[in-house]
């Protein structure tokens, strides 16, 4: 183990980690937002939109992320869509994540008994209040765990962005490995960084879960 290596490559690795976090955060939060909108449109929108969303969910969920990324980054220019690697990475992350999130939100909607919503309509609550005050607080209970799961899965999917030359963590690690002919050190650091992300995500998920299940606990 040569510590001198880390002094030399430390900045590059940290830069790569920053890019990884940027793509992951923007991409997955964007995915949550788009997924939530899709789930809402699917529930309240007209029927044909439901069919479009169904097709979108099935196609994006059913094909590998790497192929979607390839098509966006290398196929995009054919239709005049020129993206930098980081832009392509973030956009494809949003596209890839949103159907999974939409499905998770759909399961959350389904977990709320119909009677509650009917009752809320009867007392004259507007649909938006029903969503924010009745559906959302309750649906967070079953969906927080799957949401955390998927955020964790996405941390590791960021590694795939290296195939379109996004200068993220794996890309920097591979560069370091290739230039110095060391393999244990770079990949050890790599797994440490990923592990850090997963632990922090898991911890935040656990905290959120405590918060949203507070009303279920007995005093």
């Amino acid at each position: 183990m040569e510590t001198e290596l880390f002094v030399r490559y430390g900045p590059a690795l940290l830069y790569g980690f920053g890019i990884t976090i940027l793509c992951w955060l923007v991409g997955s939060i964007g995915g949550v937002i788009v997924g939530f909108l899709l789930a809402c449109l699917n529930r309240w929108g007209p029927r044909f939109i439901g069919w479009v969303i169904y097709a979108y969910v099935e196609v994006i969920r059913g094909t590998p992320f790497m192929i979607q990324l390839f098509i966006l980054y290398y196929g995009g220019p054919y239709i005049g869509l020129l993206l930098t690697p980081v832009q392509a990475g973030i956009i494809s992350f949003i596209i890839y994540g949103s159907p999974y999130f939409a499905e998770i939100f759909r399961s959350g909607f389904n977990a709320i008994p119909k009677g509650q919503i009917e009752a809320a309509r009867c007392v004259g609550l507007p649909e938006s209040r029903i969503l924010w005050r009745i559906i959302l607080p309750q649906m967070l209970v079953p969906i927080t765990a799957p949401l955390t799961n998927f955020f964790i899965i996405l941390t590791k999917e960021t590694a795939i962005l290296s195939v379109v030359t996004v200068p993220e963590l794996l890309f920097q690690t591979q560069t370091m490995a290739a230039e110095t002919f060391t393999f244990v050190e770079p990949f050890l650091v790599l797994s440490l960084f990923y592990w850090l992300m997963v632990v922090v995500t898991g911890w935040i998920g656990a905290r959120v879960e405590q918060r949203v299940t507070r009303h279920l606990k007995r005093a």
Partner: protein, 217 residues
């Protein structure tokens, strides 16, 4: 370079033959994931603090370590402790046990969302605990957790492509090989994507059917 359907037509049999391994690994992995995930979930919710923390540790390990590393561990490190698994079995076990950690969390989320009052009411009525699980908790948990479970199983199908690192010629590996021979990445990868899509579509349709079946009201 124009799109060559000829290449696709020519190589389709090889890709389909490779898809067989993808299907075998993912179907067996799913079985392990569902059964073992249910056990883990029950362990995680148990009253015994030892079992509870053991399950928590298992989940954080299998979610925290990349599957690729787990796969390599199962195949290359287990022989040192006297468990020499063939490649396919190692791949099935690794994907199944990793996915079980995610499944357990999904089921836990679903179970916790069932109002406690139902359990209490069942006890008050003298319903035995087996019937409580069999008739009341599990059907509702499956209905609530189904979309997330299908998400997880679909990811399992796609992640089976990692099995190529222990020498299994599954779909992605064969697609890479054929691309190397024909220099037609677009055609071959799109075909591979369509095959993956077909497998996953069957999964999500069955998921929706089960969900419909368990729908109430």
């Amino acid at each position: 370079m124009n799109f060559s359907f000829d290449t696709i037509w020519h190589n389709l049999p090889y890709l389909l033959a490779a898809a067989r391994w993808t299907v075998i690994i993912s179907v067996c992995g799913m079985a392990i994931s569902l059964v073992w995930g249910t056990v883990l979930c029950a362990t995680r919710l148990s009253a015994n603090p030892f079992w509870r923390s053991a399950a928590t540790l298992y989940i954080s390990f299998f979610r925290g370590v990349p599957l690729l590393v787990q796969l390599l561990l199962f195949y290359y490190a287990l022989p040192y402790v006297g468990l020499d698994l063939p490649a396919v079995e190692a791949a099935i076990l690794a994907t199944g046990m990793c996915s079980a950690a995610y499944t357990a969390e999904i089921l836990r989320g679903a179970l916790q969302s069932i109002p406690r009052g139902q359990t209490e009411a069942a006890y008050a009525l003298g319903i035995p605990s087996f019937s409580l699980w069999r008739r009341i908790l599990v059907p509702q948990a499956i209905r609530i957790g189904m979309p997330s479970l299908v998400n997880e199983l679909i990811l399992l199908v796609k992640v089976s492509s990692l099995a190529s690192v222990v020498g299994i010629s599954e779909l992605t590996r064969i697609a890479q090989n054929i691309t190397g021979e024909t220099y037609r990445p677009l055609e071959i990868y799109i075909t591979a994507a369509v095959i993956y899509f077909a497998i996953n579509w069957i999964l999500s349709i069955s998921g929706r059917l089960i969900e419909k079946k368990l729908q109430i009201g």
